[in-house]
Symmetry: C2
Subunit: 754 residues, 2 copies
């Protein structure tokens, strides 16, 4: 038995006081937690309580000599810290008292502090200078429960699909030569088609189960196999098949849809041209109707007006070609026409030229190519005529009279693809983060001179800051994308325009997030992350282009911002636009209350962790940006500037609004989901992940909130500290969190994760 000057009553609290004061995060409410524990602690006499109350004064913290006494008391105890215990600090305290005194009952009040202050072993294990029984990872949470929450109602489909991915056809290997790689991916796509997965989103009559949301999940899982596979599969069944499904009518469905889904008819989606990527309305390919023969002539007018970057261009038998439809000499705008490209022997048909796009930064298993049409004839029936048709008399017909609206309705069919691209990006981020986290839990580097073993790199605060907020963001966006897909797939919805705007924004922030996450993982794994065998390199190369295709992110964000400005319905450039902006401005202005200085400097944990605060901050930002944007544009227009130019002047502001709105939306959807998790333990975890996401977002945009006076300096720093602290709190659960992504073991082939 050692000697100590402290009473038993005080002794049991000493580890707690030492932990509390070694850091500077003690808030008023946390002091209350500790005080309350004294009050309910029957083992304490009044003089003990008074002594300890003295130690709880934020303005008069205990002297450093006192802290050193505590430290010696702890170090000299010879007690081991066992991280895997349910209440490691309370257990440690109990054993500490035992080592000095004869009696040592377990004190429930200590447990109460430990829980309510969220004290984690990795916050204090380095402070004690005692033997530590380390725990690399905690099993407090259960990965398959987390996975189940993310899978939601698609669990059955996903489990079957993940099992299928164990088929040797999906074995990962390095493929440098594009011809071999494309051949391999083609076989995989055909295999999936044969198993029925290509038709998942199609009606039952064509081999499907009409389940687009489940399809999106499967699409994400394909990223764990290979990015090229996901994209080629998406081109075949989502873009080519999808265009037939959404733009065609029964005759096209009956002819082609089943074969497209079963990957028996290979096709491509020929929209983009070399000179027209983002500006689809300006494409130059023409589809001229010949009344006499009831044929359509597909033609590429200039050398550089070819279709560009068309996935499946080298394997396809047919293409959905977007072209300016000219009927009786009048341009009726962009329409889609099915054009056969090759015959049964895979020879190009007359008038068609295809050129390989060659090697790319990634996705080399996808055969992208350029296509030219030289007066190619197809029958009138090949026009995908759901939104515009040519009747037997050679007259153009459409139920949508406004050509602008017609164009956007047709483009609306791309929206599902955008959700899937975001989903695939997210899958890439999850894969990279899983690899990086597992590596960080095995890799050691540097140490304290007294230690034999070097530290795990996952225990470095900078490493935690690199990876943990990104893991949290993956959880948030998993839910976000589920919700937006459900909204999109709901045919009864009247909010189509709004959903399209939201998808545009979410696709942008999520694909950028995915790229950042993968890059961070590459660097976090050092040179090992650079080796192809460890998978992150390919993910980086593959996901990179997601920020560009299916809509360039900067263009999409401007689209989103314009949608917000017009409240998702009014047309731009119209005469009344200025008054729309004025109305919008005054509406928002009423809601933008002045921020109270007490609020802008409130740093209590209860406040910072409150979803109300997060929601308010996100909403304030969106509203304020909308208001100032509307006012700026209006002022330019009033000075006589054409609205096109006015929008150019505020381009950066548009991007900021698009991002702000999308993050608000993502958090909103996520919180709605977490509030309904039945199991409390998991609900609290999901809430914590949401809090980390929200605080990290505010931290990343702190300059703006500070500029607006929405947060003060103290609050800005407190938010930063809370982000660091949350990362540290989640440290023991990192492995479970990434396992919760549900990436099948048979696809985790990176040698550094073993």
């Amino acid at each position: 038995m050692q000697k100590t000057k402290y009473s038993s009553g005080i002794l049991q609290y000493i580890p707690f006081f030492y932990v509390i004061w070694s850091d500077d995060l003690l808030s008023a409410s946390e002091i209350e937690v500790v005080k309350k524990s004294f009050e309910h602690d029957e083992s304490l006499i009044d003089s003990d309580k008074n002594t300890m109350l003295e130690w709880l004064k934020r303005d008069h913290p205990p002297a450093n000599t006192e802290l050193k006494n505590w430290k010696h008391t702890i170090s000299n105890s010879g007690v081991k810290l066992v991280e895997s215990e349910t209440y490691p600090l309370s257990s440690f305290s109990q054993k500490l008292v035992c080592s000095y005194k004869s009696e040592c009952p377990f004190n429930e009040q200590l447990k109460h502090i430990e829980i309510n202050l969220g004290i984690q072993p990795n916050h204090y294990n380095h402070l004690f200078e005692v033997a530590v029984v380390h725990e690399k990872t905690s099993n407090y949470y259960n990965a398959s429960e987390l996975d189940a929450l993310l899978k939601g109602e698609h669990a059955e489909h996903l489990d079957a699909f993940r099992a299928l991915l164990a088929d040797p056809i999906f074995d990962w290997q390095i493929k440098r030569n594009k011809e071999d790689f494309r051949q391999k991916v083609l076989e995989q796509v055909k295999f999936l088609g044969a198993k029925g997965y290509g038709a998942m989103a199609y009606p039952k009559a064509y081999g499907g189960i009409e389940n687009m949301p489940a399809y999106a999940h499967i699409f994400e899982n394909l990223m764990y196999v290979d990015g090229s596979l996901a994209i080629k599969f998406g081109v075949q069944v989502g873009l080519f098949g999808g265009s037939i499904q959404k733009l065609g009518t029964k005759k096209h469905h009956d002819h082609y849809l089943q074969d497209a889904g079963a990957v028996k008819l290979l096709g491509c989606f020929a929209m983009t041209e070399t000179r027209h990527g983002s500006n689809v309305r300006g494409i130059r390919t023409t589809a001229t109707y010949i009344k006499e023969t009831e044929q359509i002539v597909i033609h590429t007018p200039g050398k550089n007006d070819n279709k560009e970057y068309i996935g499946n261009a080298l394997h396809a038998k047919m293409a959905t070609v977007f072209a300016q439809l000219i009927v009786a000499g009048k341009n009726e705008g962009v329409h889609a026409i099915l054009v056969p490209l090759r015959n049964e022997n895979h020879e190009l048909l007359p008038g068609i030229t295809v050129e390989d796009n060659g090697y790319k930064l990634g996705l080399n298993g996808v055969d992208n190519g350029k296509i030219w049409f030289d007066q190619v004839l197809v029958p009138r029936e090949n026009l995908l005529n759901k939104y515009g048709d040519i009747d037997t008399t050679g007259t153009y017909q459409s139920e949508i009279k406004n050509p602008n609206k017609r164009f956007f309705t047709m483009l609306g069919t791309l929206v599902g693809g955008r959700i899937c691209v975001a989903r695939a990006g997210l899958g890439g981020a999850k894969m990279a983060l899983t690899i990086a986290v597992k590596y960080a839990l095995g890799r050691r580097q540097f140490n304290d001179s007294v230690k034999i073993q070097e530290d795990l790199i996952m225990d470095y605060p900078t490493h935690q800051l690199r990876l943990t907020p990104k893991v949290a963001e993956c959880y948030v966006h998993s839910i976000t994308l589920d919700h937006i897909m459900q909204a999109y797939a709901d045919d009864t919805s009247n909010d189509k325009r709004k959903i399209e705007t939201q998808v545009a924004g979410l696709k942008s922030i999520i694909t950028w997030f995915a790229n950042d996450a993968i890059q961070e993982c590459r660097e976090a794994c050092g040179g090992k992350g650079y080796l192809i065998e460890n998978r992150i390199a390919d993910l980086k190369g593959d996901v990179d282009i997601f920020t560009t295709f299916e809509g360039d992110n900067t263009v999409l964000l401007q689209l989103a911002a314009k949608g917000i400005l017009s409240d998702f319905n009014s047309e731009f450039n119209s005469a009344g636009f200025s008054s729309v902006l004025k109305l919008l401005g005054s509406q928002i202005s009423d809601k933008l209350t002045t921020i109270n200085p007490v609020y802008s400097n409130k740093i209590d944990k209860e406040h910072l962790f409150n979803t109300k605060f997060h929601r308010h901050a996100f909403q304030y930002r969106t509203r304020r940006l909308t208001y100032t944007l509307a006012m700026r544009i209006r002022s330019y227009i009033k000075k006589g500037m054409p609205s096109y130019q006015a929008f150019l002047k505020v381009q950066d502001h548009l991007l900021a609004l698009g991002k702000a709105y999308s993050h608000e939306l993502a958090y909103h959807m996520y919180v709605n989901f977490t509030e309904n998790i039945a199991d409390e333990k998991n609900r609290l975890l999901f809430e914590k992940l949401g809090t980390l996401y929200a605080l990290n977002q505010i931290k990343e945009n702190a300059f703006w909130f500070l500029e607006q006076g929405y947060i003060g300096s103290t609050k800005s720093k407190a938010i930063r500290q809370r982000v660091e602290r949350l990362c540290s709190e989640l440290r023991p659960h990192m492995e479970v969190l990434v396992d919760g992504f549900g990436i099948p073991d048979h696809l985790m082939t990176a040698p550094i994760t073993n």
Copy 2:
């Protein structure tokens, strides 16, 4: 002759007023410029002056109806705007008066305003609704003059070298198979060796010209050919040859140095181990001296203690191996020993195992491999013995008694390599930016409905914001790296430790900058940037690892921060460390004056463009971060926390300080350079680039400056506006600016740049 209600005197000023008021950037000092022009303008009568003075009141701006009148006056004039004129707005004004009145002399006062307000055609050409004779690029500056300023005293070497790079051996081609690629790069390296470029940094006696600074420039230029070539060349002559030069003595130089430089003796640099990358001191390979035979036994103790990621491992005949030197049973710390790897027939020598690292994200032309040694014997002479030797009696000798200092002295030899890596990263960024800018000057997308031609994407504000600050940063870092290399190459300097610290920081910020720049260029070029043929993809893959090798950036920045904290000399973890921190704290505290609110909200152009403001902001940030860091660490230590743990707790703060210091340093060096540019026109341009860099840095870290109250909200917004404005002002010069990087035409092979 049209009609107008304005007098000739006023009429000539109308385009100026319209331009000024269409924007919101008019500052007090700019109003003064305009007022002064009135005063000196003899063509004005008093009533004209009074009318126009009314139009200059910031608090009572002209009514929108007045602006519309101006606009109509301009639009109805039928005058063309010719952007290529020397003073386009003044000329336009002159012609405007001519179109309404009979006499129209050129007014010098207008020219005065145009110059002093920095009004550029691209600020107003969209406002006028008149015919515009566009200028894609301006020839006001001369690219070869800019190039000459960047080449400095190395012009002769560089010009010769760039001409040599036209040799067909450097022709760019896609190489997917690593064996072919490596063979090609090997031939190129041998070619450069034969031409004498390998020995540039070596003494004359060994075939060189002892010019390390010129070598660094050449190294940057190799990136324009291929990243693998640069890196393999650097491994051979910089790391392998460099280790012989810097760690060896005359016997080694005489034996090996000439052949290393001429690339006749291929070698590698075997430092990193699988389990020890950043923590070199912990490497496990042993070099045990056997007194009896005067031999050293090189041995890899465990399966995972192999040398890892060693460049040239498959081609090398010899390696500089870093190992724990054990003499008479005592570990004398890490030393370098020359170890032959293969015989003349390129067969591995007994006891040596080499394994290919396989495919990587980039640099696949470099043969990286793993090496194991199984009791390999080399003679005593093979110890590179400049800093530590074994004498003939078998006793270890070193002039540097402190093992710690000895270790860091040896590692100091890596510093030159770090500068070169940063230089190569910079070269990658320049190449990517050149491609992206040229593409943006050719690519059109979208347009105003009234225009026939779509807009150049370089004319989009967001595109300018993406690329222009990065072009400016390339200029800044070109100068920075020149200066730091000169300091490093100066053998008489006593500041070795300080220079090493500075290099650590600069290498980190520049390689990160390079990666960001290349990524931005990839996205700015859309799908075209993704094609290998357009070069950016390979640059991305190659430069990616620069953030990791030659020192991981996060580790280097911590090193830099610790150097700053210790004022570049004192040892850490020593007993007196806490008092060093205390002293440092009080020293800085005296200098950290409170920021005056007038200063923190000063937004005049003269102030925002003043280098004094930039320097002060950078310095304030470094000092403040140093002070708060020192105080935090000291407080932890006083509470009894071991210093190793205290440093862990502040890891993120260390990174922030390392970055802040490095940016301050870069700007400091750059300004010293620009102040001495003789030619005024170019000096002003360089100053403008420096201003853009400085303001952009403050903008990027605005959250911190706002938190500290160093800048207020108004100033933060003004800085953002100035960054946008500077990008717009530099828009006409973008092509000349990237041409100023001096990348030879014969290496600009990307099809999108043509």
